[in-house]
């Protein structure tokens, strides 16, 4: 995005949620993927939730991406997204888990063991 205003934001983040930081559904994480459900937004939706819906119009976004786009902290976007999910306006998907990595310690111990086996003819 070009033309991002630099400097101190005029509107503080707590205004977006009215000071609430506890999302109505706790399972939304930083990397949860949000996408619009296609339901038309009802009238009277808070401005910040409309802005979040708008940011999802171009495709789905992770919570952190939406936060960066809206210049809001992740905690605020989680509240907004949870509310929109409750209203069936947004679908949330659990973050794609990173491939199960092996514990490096375990690998090292296995390698050591193998080496030890090899050395002990």
């Amino acid at each position: 995005m070009t033309g991002r205003p630099a400097g101190r934001p005029l509107v503080p983040a707590y205004l977006s949620t009215g000071g609430v930081t506890r999302p109505s559904r706790p399972h939304l994480e930083r990397l949860s993927v949000l996408a619009r459900s296609g339901e038309p937004p009802p009238a009277g939706l808070p401005a910040a939730e409309l802005a979040l819906l708008d940011s999802l119009e171009g495709g789905s976004l992770a919570v952190v991406e939406a936060a960066a786009l809206l210049r809001l902290p992740v905690s605020a976007v989680r509240v907004l997204a949870a509310d929109l999910v409750d209203r069936d306006l947004v679908l949330a998907r659990a973050p794609i888990p990173p491939a199960e990595r092996y514990d490096p310690d375990l690998l090292k111990r296995v390698a050591d063991g193998l080496r030890a086996l090899k050395l002990r003819p």
Binding site: Y14, G19, G58
Partner: protein, 483 residues
Amino acid sequence: MIELPDLVAGALAAGTLSAFALGGGLARSRRRQNRQLAEIAALRTRLDGTARAFTAEVEHLATQRVPAAARQVAHPHLAVPGPLQPLTAGTPLGIALENAVLALQSEAAAQRTRIDAAAQAGMRGAVREIQAALYRLQDALRGLQQRYDDPELAQTLFRLDHENEQSLRRAQVAAVVCGAWVGLAREESHLVDAVTGGQARLAGYQRVQVHNHLEPGTALVSHAVEPVAVIVAELLDNALRHSAPDTDVVVSLEHVHHGVCVTVDDAGLGMTHDERERAQRLVAGDDPILLTDLGDPPRMGLAAIGRLTRQFDLSVDLSSASPYGGVRAVLRVDSHLLSRLDPADRPPAASAPRTTRTTRRTAPDRAAAPTPAHAYGTEAGAPEAPPGHREPQDDEGDGLPQRRRRTRTAAPAPAAAPARSPARRPEDAAAALGALQSGTAAARAAAGDPGDSPRPHAAADHTDRNNDIDHIDHIDDEGGAAR
């Protein structure tokens, strides 16, 4: 010998005559003396009386008139008592005494201004330091908000940020009243951002309803941003403070002929005639501000508004009552303080209320020519864009997701819904991917060498883009789901 008695008789007669004459003169002189004595006594009495009256007059001046005159410097509504003897008014004495009172008053007024200026300078210095410290604290808090998203911690950070904003507002207002600059340079910003920013600085900001009827992109020039935010915050603070906690304070932003009006209505008690006059005098900013005039504790809001309106050529009107029963405050921002930002390029803050106007309908016209004074009729007649409709964008080729402003519509047509299939249900996504897989597998099997084949997909896609916008929506959605 006859002559002798005659002579004697003549002498006697002459002696008697002279004796009579002498006696008469003596008696006359005694009478005159008595008269003079009486006159002297009368004069002495009068002199005593005058001296007493003079003393009493000076005494009266010292004990009554001088203190009253000194008090009148601070409280102009107090009356200074006149001289004890009303007859002295025109006399040289009366004029001299009057001059003494006037000289005292002018000196007292000068002293008062000097002392107040010193107090303001001291306070300005102290408050500026506090303001700078609070800005640093704000930076720290916002950094923490970005970094930590644990709800408990975020709740605390939000509360601290809000408290900090309120302290900041007080410090800033005190500084402004004491003649300081608003203390923060901002860049050109959307007017609605400045209003929402002002709203956020208050306790009870949840009660404020902002209705934005401005054209998208209506912005303030950089030096007017912070003053407008401060003024709006103070007007809203007054409104919130003087209305019941279960009522809303309504703010509406509207275009007027000479610029933009921010109207703040509360449903509170309203002001009496005197209060309203005083408030109007303060916000006009014509009189110099003295801290001692502002009460204890000083009520600085209106005085700060007065300073800012005078410095930045804004105008605030408090003279009308609100239709909700309380006070209606109108801030007018003239056109020379307004500018225009491209909302697509620099969108307003996420929490700023959307405009009720539709996007890019009058924006180009407005830049070219001033809106006619009665443009309302044309608004009603203008065809509304259907809710699901999206204008084709020229710059859609760069492949990045673009934010698109979407107008808020009260009742979207249900006909648009079927075009946008909810393609992101897991089963659908799986089916789409499965179809794609089987399709590519079939194509690979059919074509011996895939490198040689032209790419019919891309070409079809391109023509579709020009024909069917809804279809693009569909593709966009699937692209989004696949990411």
